[in-house]
């Protein structure tokens, strides 16, 4: 089996093609489990989204992957290495931003990067200017970090993360507090990192965002992974048929569909009727409607959004940070 290291570097590592693997991972604080029985698989080149509401245990998992927290049970491997026992081997391949973007508030952006370069053993000063330029921060490089907006702080932290040449970039809620332009910028950056062959592991409570950038996702709820797989597969696991009829035919169409036994799966959304079920039913539905004098303007298969998938899976509504704060 070819390992990632064999494929991309000259360093040897235990034989595993997985970038991150967690088996039965759990963390207990005092008597309460923050995460429990977590199994994860992140493949090379993935943009992996760890999706869950605030407090679900996303950051705890990230901390265990980085060796900041010692697991109470189970095991984690990053590039085949144990983050607690082989921390150096893990951290030299990984760059991470854990929780809020934090650097030294009294130091300028450039000085913060110099500090982080020293801390990461980076000896090429040109790298600092390179990442400043990459994150569009050159003009504000001499301003103190404490004066930066949240978006700029996030960008500087990402710049610090890119000082090394990480094979895995871990971003914990990278778009938290950013405006739409800032969020789009981070999304583009993530895509760019993935395009360079890096694996990206991000946590988020923003379903839409995860769907836009991630190819693989794990959904965590109350500290447990409740679903995991390719985003494409998860959202297409439940398809529905979407029918567009003119508003005057709505009632008639509903009656016809109820007679056909599809009433339980029927719901209205916008100016469309949605019937949960495989697209193979499309012809039968069309026939039933047409026979009774209702002609659909459009009939097409409709995949679920990740949000719908999550709601179906958990029956819970997602709460954004802002909503939680306002409570």
């Amino acid at each position: 089996m070819q390992t990632l290291d064999n494929a991309t570097t000259t360093h040897s590592s235990p034989a595993t093609p997985l970038v991150v693997r967690a088996n039965g991972l759990g963390k207990r604080f005092k008597k309460k489990f923050a995460v429990k029985e977590v199994d994860l698989e992140v493949h090379p080149g993935d943009v992996f989204g760890l999706l869950g509401p605030n407090g679900a245990g996303k950051t705890t998992i990230i901390r265990m992957l980085l060796g900041l927290l010692r697991p109470s049970e189970g095991e984690a491997r990053v590039f085949g290495f144990d983050p607690m026992r082989q921390r150096a081997e893990v951290l030299r391949r990984v760059s991470a931003i854990v929780e809020s973007p934090a650097l030294y508030p009294g130091l300028t952006g450039r000085d913060n990067l110099k500090a982080m370069a020293l801390n990461a053993g980076v000896r090429n000063p040109a790298k600092i200017e390179e990442v400043l330029e990459r994150m569009n921060l050159t003009a504000r490089a001499e301003d103190r970090f404490g004066t930066y907006s949240l978006g700029m702080k996030q960008r500087l932290c990402i710049a610090a993360a890119l000082l090394t040449d990480p094979q895995l970039v871990i971003l914990d809620e990278p778009t938290n507090g950013l405006d739409p332009a800032g969020m789009a910028e981070i999304r583009n950056l993530i895509k760019e990192l993935a395009g360079q062959g890096r694996t990206v592991f991000l946590s988020s409570h923003l379903l839409n965002e995860v769907q836009q950038v991630c190819n693989r996702v794990a959904v965590i709820q109350h500290g447990k992974i409740i679903a995991q797989g390719l985003v494409e597969e998860l959202v297409s696991s439940k398809t529905s048929v979407q029918i567009k009829v003119v508003p005057g035919d709505w009632e008639k169409a509903k009656q016809i569909l109820q007679r056909q036994g599809w009433a339980n799966q029927l719901r209205a959304e916008g100016d469309c009727l949605i019937i949960d079920g495989p697209i193979s039913q499309g012809a039968a539905i069309n026939k039933a409607l047409a026979t009774n004098g209702v002609f659909a303007a459009e009939i097409y298969a409709r995949s679920q959004s990740l949000e719908e998938y999550y709601l179906d899976l958990t029956g819970e509504q997602f709460h954004s940070t802002e909503e939680i704060k306002s409570k």
Binding site: L68, I97, L103, G197
Partner: protein, 318 residues
């Protein structure tokens, strides 16, 4: 096309130490702190110049009886006066500021939430702790140089103030020797207290915790040291029976305490009190001097060990 990624260098201890120096050099607090031992004497000298201009200052440097003090810092010449001003009076306050500065170097990582950033780049937590300890000791060392500059300038100024020759006399050399020896030992003590503050701050993750821990330790150590020595020297009048076991305990502990070790190395064995030469009640003269040196080294090693113990195996949650 995928790019070839090389695993990053593992940062060395030297990298981590340079990071501490770099951060320290960029912070105004540390700059001001290191300038204070020169700035304060300069301010006082400016006042003294005013005094000299507007009033008659007697020619000649006043001398003092060396045995009137628990420590002999010389009796003749401007350096004897500067020894007391800088190494005793100023150093006692400044040492506390140094301890706070060392605690801050750790506490700020938690306050600014940068500890996670640091700990996910430097894989060795041992190097991380040792670099903090070495930074604290470096701060003490640099401030020592600053103190020595302030001390020298002040001593030379006193010659001008008392209208005597600016030449270095034999009395000056004697006082310099005594002062430097005393200050050297006091500096070692400050370094050990700085390590204590670093260890406590790793434990409590806040500067308040670090400082309170230091103050409690300092107060207890001073109290037990002095009580133990006074009990051994029979200078405590009318001891109630119930207190005897505690006082004996304090006496037994005395050779191993930090303050008693520093006192053993810095204080003179006899001094003058009300025209009588008596034994110094704050030291036990039977305690060997070599043991005091050994204890200073033991404290330094134990405190670094405690800092490692408090940080290395612990989860980083904050």
């Amino acid at each position: 096309m995928a790019i070839v990624m090389t695993p990053a260098n593992i940062p060395s201890f030297w990298d981590s130490y340079r990071l501490e120096l770099f951060k320290g050099s960029k912070q105004m607090f540390y700059k001001i702190m290191l300038g204070v031992p020169i700035a304060i004497p300069l301010v006082i000298m400016a006042i003294q110049v005013g005094v000299k201009i507007f009033s008659n200052v007697e020619v000649g440097i006043p001398s003092s009886n060396p045995f009137l003090s628990l420590t002999d810092l010389g009796s003749e010449g401007s350096f004897a006066i500067a020894n007391r001003l800088m190494f005793v009076q100023f150093a006692s306050i400044y040492g506390f500021i140094l301890v706070i500065a060392c605690a801050l170097s750790v506490a700020n990582e938690y306050r600014w939430n940068t500890i996670k950033m640091v700990a996910t780049r430097q894989p060795s937590r041992i190097k991380l702790v040792l670099s903090k300890c070495l930074f604290g000791l470096s701060l003490v060392a640099v401030s020592t140089v600053s103190m020595l500059i302030g001390w020298f300038i002040w001593a030379m100024f006193l010659k001008f103030f008392y209208s005597v020759s600016l030449d270095i006399t034999s009395d000056d050399i004697e006082a310099m020797g005594k002062g430097l020896k005393y200050f050297g030992i006091i500096t070692l003590g400050t370094g050990i207290f700085a390590l204590f503050a670093v260890a406590m701050t790793f434990l409590f993750k806040s500067v308040i915790g670090g400082i309170v821990g230091y103050l409690v330790f300092n107060a207890l150590d001073t109290y037990v040291s002095q009580v133990g020595a006074q009990f051994a020297n029979n200078t405590i009048p009318s001891i109630p029976e119930w207190a005897m076991p505690f006082l004996r305990g304090a006496q037994d502990m005395n050779p191993y305490l930090l303050h008693s070790s520093i006192s053993r190395l810095t204080m003179q064995e006899k001094y003058v009190l009300a025209s009588r030469t008596i034994n110094n009640p704050l030291i036990i003269t039977s305690n060997p001097v070599w043991l005091a040196w050994v204890m200073l080294a033991v404290y330094a090693i134990v405190l670094i060990g405690l800092a490692l113990l408090f940080f290395v195996p612990r989860d980083i949650r904050d």
